[in-house]
């Protein structure tokens, strides 16, 4: 979990926008998203469903759905991905950028055995002769803590439990020895004890390979456990960027504050009023304004606010951090969560 901030970012996303055509009109699922990931660090994208996290991830390496238009820049290790040809992208995928998705079913083909798939992926990226590929497959399965790896090679994906399936997906992602791992809610459907195992695995892998990880989740507990820096998304935009400790101790954006306050462990349950807007009917101005207790006139019109500095290495997209406003109006002094055992302090 160590971050090497001094070096140049490995991944640099700049003003990324993704739009779809639907019969309701053009929908901008992602609008002007900007963030960096440095080598060896873990950046978590946090947001609720509909915030645009998955679309952002898919758009990074050109995996966006058909019919989508992407704008903006995605630089990976100096290469501009948005203008790279599909061949180039294919080379990069798996080899330098690897993906792990939410369900292992999305990564594993049900008609081939684990071994066949794993060895196929190994074959894409490295010049291995046949015999060595099998060895390497076993190594990879072993590295993701799968018992009896040699026997697992002949299993079919449906014979694996959820946790095992995800481990195989991680093994496949590692086959090309990537520099960046993009994980989209990989533990969402798994039991909590299995999830804990997988999170531990990610931490180990990062430490031993200096892997950069971009981890998408809605679970703030996971974020607290693995992130170095956090990107908070709401309605297709980035509303806050901060180092993890800063985010939890002193969240800058009203949405982040409300989110932290609404967790079950945070004393009285304080739900956020209203609900997450649909992409086709985003409000004008700041997209959070209908639900924000501090909203003023400026918040309701025009474009959604820019990210402005809001503390040590953090930015928040809120007008109150502008030069002619008093940020203490929105900044909270007390931590919203006391961070003890889940739910401690909740009224019963």
């Amino acid at each position: 979990m160590t971050a090497s901030r001094q070096s140049d970012p490995m991944l640099s996303v700049s003003d990324l926008s993704v739009g779809f055509d639907s019969y309701e009109g053009t929908i901008r699922a992602v609008d002007g998203v900007t963030f960096d990931v440095h080598p060896g660090e873990t950046v978590c994208i946090v947001g609720e469903s509909g915030a645009g996290k998955t679309v952002t991830c898919e758009a990074l390496a050109g995996l966006g759905p058909d019919g989508s238009q992407t704008a903006g820049s995605v630089r990976f290790d100096g290469i501009e991905l948005q203008s790279a040809g599909s061949r180039r992208l294919q080379e990069l995928r798996g080899d330098r950028i690897a993906y792990v998705f939410q369900h292992s079913q999305n990564s594993l083909d049900p008609v081939y055995t684990v071994g066949e798939q794993l060895m196929e992926v190994i074959g894409y990226h490295q010049e291995f002769p046949e015999e060595r590929r099998r060895e390497r497959a076993i190594d990879l399965l072993d590295r993701v803590d799968i018992a009896n790896p040699a026997e697992r090679l002949s299993d079919y994906p449906h014979e694996l439990s959820g946790g095992m399936g995800q481990r195989v997906a991680v093994a496949m992602a590692l086959a090309g020895d990537p520099d960046l791992l993009v994980a989209d809610e990989p533990t969402a459907d798994l039991d909590v004890t299995i999830q804990a195992q997988l999170l531990e695995l990610f931490a180990e892998l990062q430490a031993e390979r200096d892997l950069a990880i971009l981890y998408v989740t809605h679970d703030l507990g996971i974020v607290a456990g693995i992130a170095d820096r956090v990107v908070v998304m709401y309605a297709g935009t980035v509303v806050e960027r901060a180092p993890v400790a800063q985010l939890f101790k002193s969240p800058a954006h009203p949405y982040t504050q409300a989110l932290l306050r609404s967790l079950p462990g945070a004393g009285e349950l304080k739900p956020i009023e209203g609900r997450h807007p649909e992409p086709s009917v985003y409000p004008d101005g700041c997209r959070f304004h209908p639900r924000c207790p501090h909203a003023v006139g400026d918040c309701r019109t025009g474009e959604s606010p820019e990210l402005l500095p809001a503390g040590v290495e953090s930015e928040a997209a809120c007008v109150f951090y502008g030069p002619d406003r008093e940020s203490s109006v929105v900044r909270q002094a007390d931590p919203p969560v006391d961070g003890s055992t889940p739910g401690e302090g909740a009224h019963r």
């Binding site: 609720e48 439990s161 004890t193 804990a196 931490a203 809605h218 607290a224 400790a245 055992t341 739910g343």
Partner: protein, 400 residues
């Protein structure tokens, strides 16, 4: 709170048999989804059933609702066992129990308007008068915080949170006494979860409901449940008042669950105490205490005098022998950090034999030899649910 429990479950078992083919009745496996559980529920109280995949909590819910026939044991509702219901009783029972499920996207028929879905229970029970149905539907929709206009919308037009509220409205429209909620907030975003749980608490109080709340999320459970029962592989391993249970878990599995949950506090170390391996196959639960294959606290036999680390290594070795995880290629002593020399002579010879057997690739003999030498009570005997302090019950030999 009344004296007689509203719901009483005793020795409930639900097994599913795996048969081969259609005509033959050869039983090739028995999935013991629920394997002997007891609990009571009183009016006005919320009991949480907690556990992970394969623990049997959803099967329990379905059996309590009468959607499945128990293989053994009794479910008694308001004094009468379900098995003794005649058609009228059964019909009445259905009116007195409501259910809410996990997936808001499939809990409402996409082809029916929200009003039709919410009003369906009324129709099933004979209220054909359109006006009266409409009134009642609007009334209950208001109670769950949805506008009455929503009744002419289709589920696709609603958000996840709204759909769950509509599902709750449907569950409550007949004014049940018992509500079974199977992971109702699991699929909802954090902020929406909070408002849903808030609503549930209000309605529970207003309607005087008993709520059977199934979840794997301990933070949610702490917020809503008076009492909690932790299930593992079809059995209840710990049961008692929620706060006591979560603050100081008595059973190692409960402790592991509590420890595994990622806490939203970066200054604390990340979730530790991870359990090894996957949940065993419910068709073939481990002998003795079902949790012993993953338990970090398996008890040493009294005559054994190994150090704590050595004992843990032995447990590790045994587990791998049982699950077939053992790597026959490796050096067993090194792999499991077994000391070169044991103080205990019996232990020493046992390990020698085990290593020898493994060199012959004879896993079975190795396991038996190990068991003979280190017969832990956790492997021999299944613990019973017994009372400890705080009004709790635990099934663990550590508390014998």
């Amino acid at each position: 709170m009344s004296e007689v429990p509203l719901l009483s479950v005793r020795n409930l078992e639900k097994h599913y048999t795996r048969t081969t083919g259609v005509v033959s009745t050869d039983v090739v496996g028995r999935v013991r989804a629920v394997d002997g559980i007891d609990f009571d529920m009183r009016r006005g109280e919320t009991l949480a059933l907690v556990g992970e995949t394969g623990c049997g909590k959803s099967t329990t819910a379905r059996t309590v609702l009468g959607l499945e026939e128990p293989t053994a044991g009794t479910v008694t509702f308001d004094g009468t066992p379900l098995q003794e219901f005649d058609t009228t009783d059964r019909s009445q029972f259905r009116r007195r129990v409501g259910m809410v499920f996990q997936d808001p996207n499939s809990s409402l028929d996409p082809r029916m308007t929200v009003g039709e879905s919410v009003g369906e229970p009324l129709l099933v029970h004979g209220l054909t008068d359109r006006e009266r149905r409409r009134e009642r539907v609007e009334s209950v929709l208001g109670r769950v915080g949805l506008s009455p206009q929503i009744r002419s919308r289709y589920p696709a037009e609603l958000s996840g949170g709204q759909k769950q509220r509509a599902a709750l409205a449907r569950a409550l429209i007949l004014q049940p006494d018992l509500l079974v909620a199977d992971e109702p907030v699991n699929a909802l975003d954090a902020s929406v979860q909070a408002s849903f749980l808030d609503l549930l608490a209000d309605l529970t109080a207003d309607f005087g409901l008993a709520v059977l709340f199934i979840s794997h999320d301990l933070a949610v459970v702490r917020a809503v449940a008076h009492r909690t029962a932790v299930m593992y592989l079809g059995r209840i391993v710990e049961r008692g008042p929620t706060a006591a249970l979560l603050d100081d878990p008595a059973h190692p599995y409960t402790r592991a669950l509590v420890d595994s949950i990622p806490r939203p506090d970066p200054s604390r170390p990340p979730a530790g105490g991870t359990l090894e391996g996957d949940v065993p196959d419910p068709a073939d639960p481990p002998a003795g205490c079902r949790f012993h294959t993953r338990c970090p606290a398996v008890i040493q036999p009294p005559e054994s005098s190994l150090s704590a680390e050595a004992w843990r290594s032995i447990v590790s070795l045994r587990r791998d022998l049982v699950t077939g995880r053992i790597d026959l290629e490796s050096d067993v002593r090194e792999e499991y950090s077994l000391p070169g020399q044991f103080d205990d002579q019996a232990a020493e010879s046992a390990i020698d034999d085990v290593v020898a057997a493994l060199e012959e690739d004879d896993v079975e003999t190795a396991r038996q030899r190990l068991d003979r030498a280190f017969d832990s009570v956790c492997i021999e005997q299944e613990p019973e649910l017994a009372p400890i302090e705080d009004g709790r019950r635990v099934a663990c030999h550590l508390h014998d």
